[in-house]
């Protein structure tokens, strides 16, 4: 028999919306209990979900904190670290907050967000605040929803928050879903090589001109250069030269790929754990934060890292 957990004893749970009344039946009663008990709640959900919840909650909705979905979820890595920072601050003040998040991602961005969801299980329990993620199975492919269940240790149902039988630990989840990168297009806008550290400046200048030609705002351009610089530096330090850097535009993204000739496998979990102190490895962490999507692949004697930056930024 499966034990029912109350909201504040859950760690990282998912609520899969499968009908118009799921929110009313499952989430509204939980939020009412939190509001009645004066328990802090932060909701970062889409406009439709907020409207349904506010309707169901009535005046109680005003006793809950509502965050801006487009702000919290503007980039994948920044969403992850943003929630982490928020809950760390709450924990430092001795507060436990039940966070309800509804990422507005779809398609490639949603599948690229799954590893972050997996790592919430490992990183977030230390803060003592539960995180419940809301996904609507009517708007996402069934396979993605099944994977979403694998990365949440609990699931909300009408019977409460239950341990999730299909849960897979983050390391295993990442190992199981290693995929080769899609081919680089035959025509790219930048194609250059970096043979030693003294050429990093030239590489940044080349990419900076390319990104500026695409009218990226200064802050986003800086993110492109930080991410690429860290990945190329890693390639020079841990792989084999030369490091080939190619860049192109793909639909609403600017994409940069760095290939070194080391052919070593980058551990699938690299860059998902925040550095605790500056001497910890942090190049790939910083690159994952700066890029929206970062994927790695090792094949044909090459170690490849592909980074994708939204263009225009913050478009999902």
């Amino acid at each position: 028999m499966t034990a029912q957990l109350d909201g504040l004893r859950c760690h990282h749970s998912v609520l899969v919306i499968d009908a118009d009344d799921t929110l009313d039946k499952v989430l509204v009663p939980v939020l009412r209990r939190h509001a009645a008990g004066g328990e802090p709640v932060l909701l970062v959900v889409g406009a439709h979900t907020e409207r349904v919840l506010r309707q169901g909650l009535g005046d109680a909705a005003d006793r809950l904190e509502w965050g801006a979905q487009e702000q919290f979820y503007r980039q994948l890595g920044l969403a992850y670290s943003g929630f982490m920072r928020h809950l760390r601050e709450q924990s430092a003040h001795g507060r436990r907050v039940h966070v309800f998040g509804e990422p507005g991602y779809a398609g490639e961005r949603l599948t690229a967000y799954l590893p972050y969801e997996a790592f919430y299980n490992e990183i977030f329990p230390a803060f003592g605040s539960p995180l419940t993620c809301v996904y609507d199975q009517r708007t996402h492919p069934a396979g993605v929803i099944e994977e979403m269940r694998q990365v949440h240790s609990e699931e909300w149902t009408e019977r409460g928050c239950l341990p999730n039988a299909t849960y897979v630990p983050p390391g295993q989840f990442l190992n199981d879903r290693l995929r080769p990168l899609a081919p680089v297009p035959p025509h790219v806008e930048v194609d250059t090589v970096v043979c030693d550290l003294s050429e990093l400046t030239t590489c940044r200048t080349t990419l900076g001109r390319w990104a500026a030609a695409h009218h990226l705002p200064q802050a986003t351009l800086a993110q492109v250069l930080v991410a690429v610089n860290e990945v190329v530096t890693n390639g020079l330090g841990h792989g084999r030269t030369p490091v080939r850097v190619r860049a192109w535009r793909h639909e609403t993204n600017l994409v940069v790929q760095a290939d070194d000739h080391g052919g070593r496998r980058i551990p699938p979990d690299a860059g998902y754990r925040p550095p605790k102190q500056p001497r910890d490895p942090m190049g790939l962490w910083a690159a994952r934060q700066a890029a929206d999507i970062l994927a790695t692949d090792t094949s044909g004697g090459l170690t490849s890292v592909r980074m994708s930056f939204p263009h225009p930024p913050s478009v999902s």
Binding site: A222, V226, E230, P278, R279, G283, A290
Partner: protein
């Protein structure tokens, strides 16, 4: 102390008593050299490291700043670092908005 300067790869270092100015780019190609030159300049009750003209800093540069902070703590001195917007971006991406031993101030982007 007389004002002195030195170019370290893409980074220019200018220093006089209790004030150090860094400008240009700091990455893995020159970070060790910059650190080696600046560390001995951390002395006296307060040292100001003016980095408002730094136009690039990588994760290795964040480690360098952390070592400046460690040096300040062990010498029991105050080190104020005036960060350029570029530095702030890298510090934030690395998750180190604060570093022990350093008083960081952040310039607004122009």
């Amino acid at each position: 102390m007389e004002r002195q300067s030195e170019v370290l790869g893409g980074c220019e270092l200018v220093w006089a008593s209790a004030e150090v100015r860094l400008g240009g780019e700091i990455d893995s190609a020159n970070v060790s050299l910059v650190e080696q030159r600046v560390l001995p300049l951390i002395s006296g009750p307060v040292t100001v490291i003016d980095c408002r003209s730094v136009t690039f800093l990588d994760a290795g540069g964040v480690r360098m700043l952390a070592r400046f902070g460690a040096a300040a703590l062990s010498a029991n001195t105050v080190v104020r670092v005036r960060c350029s917007p570029w530095m702030t971006i890298t510090l934030e991406l690395c998750g180190f908005e604060e570093l022990p031993g350093l008083v960081l101030t952040h310039e607004e982007p122009s």
